[in-house]
């Protein structure tokens, strides 16, 4: 069949047994790949009662029908698993080359199950795969293991792509992520902890082989149209500077204690994209087929923060800048690199550190708790030590390895009241969502504990802070679009959630007459399967809300005194109803499940 490599690689790590899983054409058209297929495997194969570290948990690493094609950024993978932070559904994406190389090697995805008796890495080459001894590569960070594996296999240039975990994943830090090559991460909800629990340190995929698509010329033409619609994009790295200067108060500052960043102009200017690129950018390291100015390597040539780092994204700069009260751009870049190297999810790292610093300032956490670390705002040396201690679960770091929610609950009130997290157990993305109600609402109602739809798909006045019912309505009406995009193996910065163009590309790749409506339905299937799975796990309406601080009211700035809290219940009921779920409980109705062809789920929920 055109547009697909034709099989998924399934490894039962406990038995060291490898087999191919082949999905028929009807199943592929219904679920595509990525989070579409991933959510089906999550629902069908992982018993709700099993723990995230159980051999029964699966990790699905999947590309999709556009992976490795002419579409820009089509090396993207989606990881679906039962996450270590929420114990529920997870969907996370990493760009780079891995998804493309996986497909060239003959696999649309990988399904890992069981637990290996000893640490392994997986080599995928020339249409086959094997388990290799990972002992020589243990305790290496994600950059080091990538470089060491490349040397061990004589990899030149871009001949192979490597997916790995760092020390955080090895030590089952609940907010560890999975990393691809240098600095691309699919890390929400403890993906790295799950891979660590399976004792898989890395996967190397070689480039060889070819992929057959139905209409290659047509696909190239669509890729060019997509590029013309995205060519203005120049990365997200300057978002802190432009966000602060725009005055819209969406940049998160010092753990949500203020919406006004007291920063000198020269310091703020140093966070601009132009300044960072001019001073530090040394070479481009693009993802598969991508022509956008993004994903470059940067080098801080001298000083205390000297070293090479993959281009940080906005959220990394926000976490290691304003969230922790640091105004030194080189320090923020160094900490971004360190987070990637140790193998952490960046947002959780920032919220955890910001929370600790606020508690330390208020005397709620002291030197006795922190093993002597002085966690004053902006103390970069202390942050560095904190991250290293946490990655290895040393001392105070052992508690922090549990993540913001569990760590703060162990401290109890009043410290716990200051922590930013979703009640499901993971942390939001890197904005002050108290001024972006659509994103806060979506983060809290999503099954993954991070955004499930995208504000840029909504109308201008449905982002907040105002119009609560319109926000609730548009979060529901745009649902499914992101999951469709995350099912095809491409990068959002390139495809820009243009469902019509993505559907055209799927048609060109597969030869189907695939429509945007069909694509959004694939997305809605994934949303409903993840929701249904979570309900079976016990993650229901009570957890569709923010923590006390996350849902708090800004005390200064343009939206001081404006709170989403009074509207939350009404927004929830409206959202559930529009999603075709019971307005009181959020359980998908029989009609909704039938409409999506998910009849088999009905007996589990009704």
């Amino acid at each position: 069949m055109k547009g697909y490599a034709g099989k998924y690689l399934r490894f039962d790590l406990s038995k060291e047994k490898l087999e191919n899983t082949v999905f028929d054409e009807a199943t592929l058209r219904k679920y595509l790949g990525g989070v579409g297929i991933g959510s089906k495997i999550l629902y069908d194969e992982i018993p709700p009662e099993s723990d995230w570290f159980s051999p029964d948990n699966r990790m699905v690493i999947a590309s999709g029908p556009l992976g490795g094609t002419a579409i820009g950024g089509s090396g993207t993978i989606t990881i679906v698993t039962k996450g270590a932070l929420t114990g529920g559904a997870t969907s996370a994406q990493a760009n780079g080359l891995f998804g493309a190389y996986l497909r060239f090697s003959g696999y649309d995805g990988i399904i890992l199950q069981g637990i290996s008796p000893s640490w392994k890495y997986i080599m995928i080459k020339d249409g086959s795969a094997e388990l290799m001894d990972a002992a020589p590569f243990m305790n290496l960070d994600t950059y080091e293991v990538t470089d060491t594996l490349r040397r061990a296999h004589g990899v030149r240039n871009r001949e192979a792509s490597i997916l790995s975990i760092g020390p955080a994943g090895e030590n089952l830090v609940r907010w560890a992520g999975v990393f691809v090559d240098h600095g691309h991460s699919a890390s929400h909800n403890g993906t790295g902890a799950v891979l660590g629990s399976k004792r898989v340190k890395a996967i190397i995929a070689f480039r060889g082989g070819e992929l057959q698509v139905a209409h290659p010329e047509s696909l190239k033409e669509i890729a060019q149209r997509m590029f013309k619609d995205a060519e203005w994009f120049k990365g997200t790295i300057g978002g802190v500077e432009t966000g602060i200067k725009s005055g819209n108060a969406s940049i998160p500052i010092m753990n949500y204690t203020t919406n006004i960043w007291n920063v000198a102009k020269a310091d703020l200017d140093s966070f601009s994209a132009e300044s960072i690129r001019e001073k530090y950018q040394v070479r481009r390291d693009p993802c598969w087929g991508c022509r956008l100015l993004h994903s470059t390597m940067m080098n801080i040539p001298k000083g205390p923060f000297a070293g090479e780092v993959e281009e940080p994204e906005y959220e990394q700069m926000a976490a290691w800048g304003p969230v922790v009260g640091n105004k030194n751009v080189e320090a923020a870049m160094m900490l971004s690199g360190l987070t990637d190297r140790l193998g952490f999810e960046n947002n959780e790292a920032g919220w955890l550190t910001g929370w600790l610093m606020e508690c330390y300032e208020k005397g709620l956490i002291t030197d006795k708790d922190t093993d002597g670390l002085k966690l004053n705002w902006g103390n970069v040396d202390a942050i560095k030590k904190l991250l290293e201690m946490t990655a290895h679960r040393h001392g105070f770091g052992d508690l922090l390895a549990e993540g913001v929610k569990l760590a703060s609950e162990k401290f109890g009130e009043p410290a716990a009241d200051l922590a930013i997290y979703t009640m499901k157990g993971n942390t939001p993305r890197g904005h002050d969502h108290r001024t972006r109600w659509a994103e806060m609402f979506d983060t809290c109602v999503s099954s993954t504990g991070t955004i499930e739809t995208h504000m840029s798909a909504m109308s201008r006045d449905s982002q907040g802070p105002a119009n609560p019912m319109k926000i609730s309505t548009e979060v529901a009406s745009t649902k499914g679009l992101m999951e469709f995009e995350d099912s095809v193996g491409t990068c959002r910065f390139n495809t820009r959630m243009n469902a019509k163009l993505i559907a055209e590309a799927v048609s060109a790749s597969t030869g189907w007459d695939f429509t945007a409506e069909e694509g959004v339905k694939v997305g809605l299937r994934a949303v409903n399967l993840m929701k249904s799975y979570n309900l079976r796990v016990g993650i229901g309406k009570a957890l569709d809300r923010p923590s006390k601080r996350y849902g708090s009211t800004p005390i200064d700035g343009p939206h001081a005194g404006v709170s989403i809290a009074p509207y939350w219940e009404a927004m929830l009921s409206n959202y559930y109803k529009l999603m075709g779920w019971d307005p009181d409980t959020g359980i998908p109705t029989k009609e909704t499940l039938c409409e999506l062809g998910l009849d088999y789920v009905i007996p589990h929920l009704h």
Partner: protein, 94 residues
């Protein structure tokens, strides 16, 4: 003075143009240019570009000669002859 306007995403759909060149006689700011465009394209572009109070919305990001206008003087940035203004959807996430 000639200013090139490039449209991406929703602004392209509303104007049905990839780009256009507008000619102006006096020095104008970005806000003035937005005003010219909203008058030219009417309600659909106005709804996209302006808030209900008539101020420019955060929904779009403006790049002048490749630099985000927020890094310059925002909507007060004066345009120079030959400048290119890119009108793109605001990036979220990342």
């Amino acid at each position: 003075m000639k200013i090139t306007i490039k449209y991406y995403g929703a602004s392209r759909e509303v104007t049905r143009k990839n780009h256009e060149i507008i000619t102006i006689q006096t020095k104008l700011t970005l806000k003035d240019i937005i005003s010219i465009l909203t008058k030219r394209y009417g309600k659909p572009l106005t709804q996209l570009m302006l808030c209900e109070d008539g101020e420019p919305s955060d929904y779009l990001t403006y790049f002048i000669e490749g630099v985000n206008a927020n890094s310059l003087q925002g909507f007060s940035t004066e345009l120079r002859d030959g400048d290119t203004v890119v009108i793109a959807p605001t990036i979220v996430g990342g």
